[in-house]
Subunit: 375 residues, 2 copies
């Protein structure tokens, strides 16, 4: 087995077509990582996740450290075995969910203490704790602990938060225990301030992370500001390392971010939407609970190979969601993950063909069409 | 294609090993039919249902007539196409759920009017309506409309109710529109009164149904009384027709009923238990939410071939159920259906081998053992 590495196979403008080599297999990039919060991609069998073309998934350290606990997963052979996924797994640091979910948080230079939103139990998360927990989980890609800077924030606040994240990044990198084919990523912060973003990226450089994440986006700043910030970051990001935009996003967010040089993404949107009845199509998202589908024998998207589109009508999918049947969430989660993976595959082909701009224009035009006419 | 028919391949005492030929394929009997209430076997892909060895499923007329409606399913190509199940489907008559779920019921000789428990809409169900609805659904096996006699009841009440069901059976049989390879079953009532059961079975004989169901059991009378009633019925049931015990049951109910000559079963128990955390094993049912499983790397049942047992630990299944993750219901429903299908397959082999009594004793002894010791 070779060590964790990243190669760039082709590029088109700032967009990159790459390949990540890990202890658990390779990942073609740009890649979308379905989110397996509590050691399961919600409503999906892992075989189904794999069948969509997904090669890497994400696990949430916060959820797993609370329940069933990292120690338990470790004793059971690690997260891969626990959840029956033998491909690469990236875990976040836990910091983001501590801020968004946990109660009674107290943050210091050392780290953060909090109470579980599940049972009120008290926990501590320092950079060293986060590295240890992710090590116990057996994460293929470990994320440094950072503070996801809230938005909006003034420059002083953004600077202070970013500097803390940089100190935590150094402690994370120092505490990470390497294994052949495993990697650790640092996270750039700095909110929407170009100079802070540049400073953060430069601060991470000597820490020798295997990849760099752009954090603190998709937190309310809007697509335009997110793209501007990515434009600000791009020239400073190391060319030879994978770049991961955390928590993004909608399909057109992904396309715009790939154009700006991003290689990896994660987002709960396809699975969460699958549970609430929203389907992604090449003509934009549609609400499968809508009455217009109730007699429609056509698939969600003619241009999709997933089982939901291959074997079932819109009328049936609508019926399942109206009746709150689990199969509705199962089929629509599968479809949405398939749509995201197909989108990534098409982006990879477009970069290889040097035709990303045309591809992007085509996707944007397709999404703008809106749903097919009713019968 | 040949017409709907039933052949008996072997027998052992009253237990029969048979084969049902239908327009949608053959069914090896004794057979367990997973319940697909609202056009889905809850939390299961139809491919997964099939993978357990299930050859026939059940649909609920009451649920489907209310939502999405039989007319809608008919226009979409019938229930088989709608739910992507190309094997045989048996539908009940709707009568049972009208009595257990619907509001503002009014029963007359003609039929029953009621309000939907979903939206309060008013509906009518006569024997003729039920036949028409099941025809629209495209049911492989249509069930006559009956009144599921409540329990306990005095003899006069049981007699009156049974007589009504017999008149409705005749009207159902007359209204049923035959198609090559499709069948219609009559339902014997009479509560726990041996002479009423005999009278009911004799009343159905001239109506020339393709199969006979024993209805009005598993309604609170207990296993001993159910078995006694099956003993009362058995000598009078036609030898050459399939016999279906409706709504039964637990694994040992099935074994005892097969010994008493029953060929078909349906029950929500395996899928409902799959959602609430109960797993069926060859050592009896176990509660997967119990803390004793939290560190247990062993499968639910070593002697099971389903994906839940093949790929996951008890610790993981427990975690999923504690975290209310859909995959918990998906895996455990699959396992439970697999257990039921394996039980049926072993019963079929035991009858062929003329060893049913030994088999039954072995199963009873196994179930009595209780769960494996904790590690």
């Amino acid at each position: 087995m070779s060590d964790f590495s990243f190669e760039i196979l082709a590029s088109d403008g700032a967009a990159r077509r790459g390949r990540l080599h890990t202890a658990h297999g390779t990942v073609e990039t740009p890649a979308f990582m379905p989110v397996g919060t509590a050691a399961t991609v919600k409503a999906m069998m892992p075989e189904s996740v794999r069948a969509t073309g997904a090669e890497i998934i994400l696990g949430n350290t916060y959820h797993l450290m609370i329940r069933p606990t990292a120690e338990r997963i470790h004793h059971l052979g690690g997260l891969h075995k626990f959840m029956h996924w033998d491909g690469p797994i990236l875990t976040d640091s836990g910091g983001y969910q501590v801020m968004s979910l946990a109660g009674l948080r107290k943050m210091t230079e050392e780290g953060v203490t909090f109470r579980s939103h599940i049972d009120g139990s008290k926990h501590r998360l320092t950079p060293e704790d986060s590295m240890h927990i992710q090590h116990l989980l057996g994460s293929t890609i470990t994320m440094a602990l950072d503070e996801c800077t809230p938005y909006p924030i003034d420059k002083l606040g953004a600077d202070t938060s970013m500097q803390l994240s940089m100190r935590w990044a150094k402690r994370s990198r120092d505490a990470w225990v390497g294994r052949l084919g495993y990697g650790v990523y640092g996270i750039a912060q700095g909110s929407t301030f170009a100079d802070l973003r540049e400073e953060s990226i430069r601060a991470l450089e000597p820490m020798d992370f295997h990849g760099i994440a752009v954090g603190g986006l998709a937190v309310g700043e809007g697509q335009e500001m997110m793209f501007k910030t990515l434009d600000d970051c791009e020239p400073h990001l190391p060319q030879h390392k994978p770049r991961y935009l955390m928590g993004v996003g909608k399909p057109l967010d992904l396309v715009g971010a790939v154009r700006r040089g991003i290689d990896q993404f994660d987002c709960v949107l396809p699975t969460r939407s699958g549970r609430t009845g929203q389907a992604f199509t090449w003509r934009g998202p549609i609400n499968m609970r809508n009455a217009r589908h109730q007699d429609d024998p056509r698939p969600i998207d003619e241009d999709c190979s997933c089982p939901a589109c291959h074997n079932y009508s819109r009328a049936y999918i609508r019926h399942l969601h109206r009746a709150d049947e689990m199969l509705g969430a199962m089929l629509l989660s599968w479809h949405n993950i398939q749509h995201y993976q197909d989108l990534m595959a098409r982006m990879r082909s477009a970069i290889e063909a040097g035709a990303f701009a045309d591809f992007e224009a085509g996707v944007v035009a397709g999404y703008a069409q809106g749903d097919i006419d009713p019968l």
